[in-house]
């Protein structure tokens, strides 16, 4: 990569910024990697020591080989076992994990939140971030012996954007939504409005030769590489037909040997291609022979590890921390931007009154609520859905709890004798949702707001999560702060659960999303975050850490902020 002739002008710009001290070295590495500079080179340019993850070893996205690593063995992991039908419509991270060892991605975001080239060996963007070129690695072999070609990737992307596929998880990502446009079907819906479908803009994705894929976007997008590692965007062979579990042809080191939903998922190393030749994996050494996933509910995983049934688990909740600490093994924690929003719909009474919403947020001290629920790890939320681990996070002036102010606002809004509200909670991520709501409830009480907590089963909650006027909704981690804001707070996007609508906010967000320079982007985020915070559409007390655990024998097990499993360099001693 250092032999590259063309370095994106923004990289040079970023380097200057770093040298003048306006950008931290770590942010430079991130930005440079986003623009297609190999992480190892970026670390070198920044004058930082290369961490284990930087690619000092042939532009690989994986950690460096461990000289002490022992080859062979079976890794047993406790996780819920889901069906593996069509990667593009995967709806759970677990499905992605089962498939990730077979089907790979153009890019890979490591546990350190840096995105590196995977099936692509590098990428580059034009100066206004509307055209991205991904150069594929040469010699990547499919399990059927063919070589990965640009046309295969084009086939995948075209398929994702097909309206019939209903790949909700993909078209929600900014990269792919910037390749879609509305089409009139010619039919009318029940209200007489023309029925519209979203179709791919012709030419949005194309192959330039055998090894280059070109994305043309209708607006600038910064997170193209990140959007290539979201769990539904696995690259399948064009012969793919759902269900994947019947005939998995991927490029990864493992393939599916046995799948029993709700029981087990057995993955074995690929040694021969389907036409009988030796299979050569592009990604270097892989230590494990087999990966066995066994179905254990989240509450049971830690005990299964303690009993020696498995070597590692998917996740355990904070309520099990004491148990985890008492067991032999390694407790791993990842800092994430996963969060819970106690969000209000701006067009539903009583939250349609901005004063009511302001009173609600004013009455709560987020840090105090966080300390009760996650005393260790995590970070305090600031009611604008951007987390301190995001590169472009701007620190707004601290919010102060003001009970009297909240009372005064309530009185102004016509609720002199207090206000009673009910929040819907589904505990979709564990019982801590409820605990957190209880912590908030106790604080609201001081301001004369009585918050009832309506706990419902998770599956029931998913029916109403975006419809309830007041609900506690979990949002997952995304590598950049701008990514989630685009998904959730733009007018008319499917996941806009608060019904927030502010052209000024969207303009500010557009501006930030088109800005590569982290310092500059951060300055622009001040306005974005401020508008959102002042709109008081959510109480967001915290960003939570995620915990997982392995036995002492497991090495190199990644604690990934989105719990994505990538076990190429995991080994058992």
């Amino acid at each position: 990569m250092s032999s590259d002739k063309r370095v994106h002008p923004k990289v040079t710009e970023a380097k200057e910024l770093m040298e003048s001290g306006r950008m931290s070295r770590r942010e430079f590495v991130r930005t440079a990697a986003l623009l297609g500079v190999a992480a190892g080179t970026a670390y070198a340019m920044a004058g930082l020591p290369r961490p284990a993850f930087a690619d000092s070893h042939g532009n690989m996205p994986f950690p460096a080989d461990d000289p002490n690593a022992k080859e062979g063995g079976i890794l047993k992991v406790a996780m819920q076992i889901q069906k593996v039908e069509d990667p593009a419509t995967f709806s759970w991270v677990e499905m992605g994990n089962q498939a990730r060892h077979m089907m790979e991605y153009l890019a890979m975001t490591g546990p350190d939140n840096v995105t590196r080239p995977m099936l692509a060996e590098k990428w580059e963007a034009n100066d206004d971030l509307t055209e991205w070129k991904f150069h594929l690695r040469k010699g990547v072999m499919w399990h059927n012996g063919e070589e990965l070609k640009a046309e295969h990737v084009v086939w995948n992307v075209t398929r994702w954007l097909d309206a019939d596929l209903a790949a909700g998880g993909i078209i929600g990502l900014s990269t792919y939504s910037a390749m879609l446009e509305e089409h009139d079907t010619g039919e009318k819906d029940d209200d007489g409005e023309p029925k519209m479908v979203k179709k791919m803009i012709p030419g949005s994705v194309s192959a330039d030769g055998d090894y280059t894929v070109v994305f043309k976007l209708k607006k600038p997008v910064l997170s193209v590489a990140e959007d290539c590692y979201n769990y539904p965007t696995a690259i399948c062979h064009p012969s793919f037909k759902a269900p994947l579990s019947d005939n998995p042809i991927g490029t990864g080191p493992f393939t599916l040997a046995e799948l029993k939903v709700g029981e087990k998922c057995i993955l074995k190393r690929v040694t021969k291609t389907t036409d009988g030749k030796d299979f050569v994996y592009w990604g270097g050494k892989v230590y494990l022979d087999e990966i066995h996933y066994y179905n254990f509910d989240e509450d049971n995983q830690l005990v299964a590890l303690a009993g020696g049934d498995v070597d590692a688990i998917y996740e355990f909740g904070v309520e099990q921390m004491e148990l985890a600490k008492s067991l032999p093994g390694k407790v791993l924690a990842a800092k994430t931007a996963q969060t819970l929003l106690l969000r209000m719909q701006v067009d539903q009474p009583p939250f349609d009154d901005p004063k009511v919403r302001a009173a609600m947020t004013m009455a709560v001290d987020n840090a105090r609520a966080k300390a009760l629920v996650f005393p260790e790890g995590g970070s305090v939320g600031e009611n604008h859905h951007v987390c301190e681990i995001h590169p472009e996070y701007f620190k707004l002036p601290e919010m102060k709890r003001d009970v009297d102010g909240a009372k005064a606002l309530l009185a102004e809004a016509g609720h002199k004798d207090g206000l009673e509200v009910t929040i819907d909670v589904g505990n979709t991520d564990g019982p801590w949702h409820q605990t957190l709501c209880e912590a908030v409830r106790d604080q609201l009480k001081d301001a004369g707001i009585k918050m009832n907590i309506n706990v419902m089963p998770a599956s029931k909650f998913w029916e109403i999560w975006d419809k309830t006027p007041f609900g506690a909704v979990a949002w997952t981690h995304r590598p950049l702060g701008t990514m989630v804001l685009s998904l959730a707070y733009r007018k008319g996007v499917p996941w806009n659960e608060t019904h927030f609508d502010d052209p000024e906010f969207e303009a500010a967000l557009d501006d930030a999303e088109a800005t590569l320079d982290v310092e500059e982007r951060r300055a622009k985020m001040e306005k974005v975050e401020k508008i959102l915070q002042d709109a008081n559409i959510m109480i967001e007390p915290l960003f939570r850490p995620v915990y997982t655990m392995t036995s002492e024998a497991v090495n190199g097990y990644p604690a990934h902020p989105t719990q994505y499993h990538q076990f190429n360099k995991v080994w058992k001693s």
């Binding site: 790949a167 998880g169 254990f296 009993g307 029916e463």
Partner: protein, 316 residues
């Protein structure tokens, strides 16, 4: 007798029809279909779907067909032995249910193998001499253990024997094939809960027999006490416990949900719970049919067995 069996079987079919119909009505509501969509596609994705796409999805799954048509289809299929398809486990419901039923059968076998001798011996010992020390002791132990809920027993046993002493595995998922070792804790949990009940029933029955006149006569005739108990009392005393034990079959099938879920034992109860929560309609239906069949058949067995054990009872 055959008339009785015939009547019971007709009853069974009627119960099956009613239960399956009610379940179908419940699961046919739009809310349940939406829940299924959420399970299949993910909560966030479903809300990103527009009406048309959602309807297409329903059509693809065959869920847009009118209710009565689906019900008759299902009935027809069931009669030919096709129990439908599990959305959750992604395979045919019939083999799935049999497989889990067999697992629960193994569990039941273990429970009966241990529980029957323990509870009968304890019950007989207690009932032989009412109000004696051994009666008081057995009664106390029985009532004590029966009043602890299974989930508490399961936790205590796991903490002591699995996490503490390390004698048994913590979970019984049998991930590397069937293991007798992993079966022990769930069996113990169920036995601890159940033996007291059966022992108390045996005790009551035994005590009643011991007060009857033919026993007094036998004792007064000078027949050795052990012979009186074994030859004269036992046969009559075991009639009531026999019925109770056969009816435990029913309890083992659907009452063990807690134990199976706690130990991650892949049995019928766990399947039923998962299917009901999913909602995996055809699996719930298949499980219901099996549960009804087992309930009615165990009742028939207990009735028929009763007539053999107690010749005084005749069915008209």
């Amino acid at each position: 007798m055959f008339k009785l069996i015939g009547r019971r079987l007709i009853q069974m079919v009627l119960i099956m029809l009613t239960a399956s119909f009610i379940l179908f009505v419940i699961f046919d509501t739009p809310e349940f279909k939406k829940r299924l969509a959420i399970q299949e596609l993910g909560g966030f994705a479903v809300s990103a779907l527009d009406e048309t796409t959602y309807n297409e999805w329903l059509e693809k799954k065959g869920l847009n067909v009118p209710f009565y048509q689906r019900y008759f289809n299902w009935m027809g299929n069931t009669l030919t032995g096709d129990f439908g398809f599990s959305y959750e486990k992604n395979r045919d419901a019939g083999p799935l249910v049999w497989e889990k039923l067999a697992n629960t059968g193994i569990l039941a076998l273990g429970v009966f193998g241990l529980m029957i001798p323990i509870s009968l011996i304890l019950g007989v010992l207690a009932g032989m001499k009412e109000a004696s020390l051994q009666d008081r002791a057995v009664s106390f132990i029985s009532v004590f253990f029966t009043s602890i809920p299974e989930v508490a027993t399961a936790i205590i046993l796991t903490v002591v024997f699995a996490l503490g002493l390390g004698w048994f595995p913590t979970k019984s998922a049998m991930i590397s094939g069937f293991s007798f070792h992993e079966l022990i804790l769930p069996v113990l949990t169920l036995v601890v809960y159940d033996f007291g009940y059966v022992a108390r029933m045996t005790r009551a029955s035994m005590a009643e027999v011991m007060t009857s006149q033919y026993i007094r006569t036998a004792v007064l005739k000078g027949i050795p006490y052990s012979r009186v108990i074994l030859r004269h009392a036992l046969r009559n005393a075991l009639i009531a416990p026999f019925t109770v034990i056969v009816l435990q079959l029913n309890w083992l099938l659907s009452g063990v949900v807690v134990v199976e879920v706690f130990f991650e034992y892949d049995g019928f109860g766990k399947l039923l719970l998962e299917a009901a929560l999913f909602p995996d309609i055809e699996v719930v239906q298949a499980c219901t049919l099996v549960a009804v069949a087992v309930a009615v058949i165990s009742q028939i067995i207990s009735d028929v067995g009763y007539t053999f054990l107690n010749p005084r009872i005749r069915f008209g």
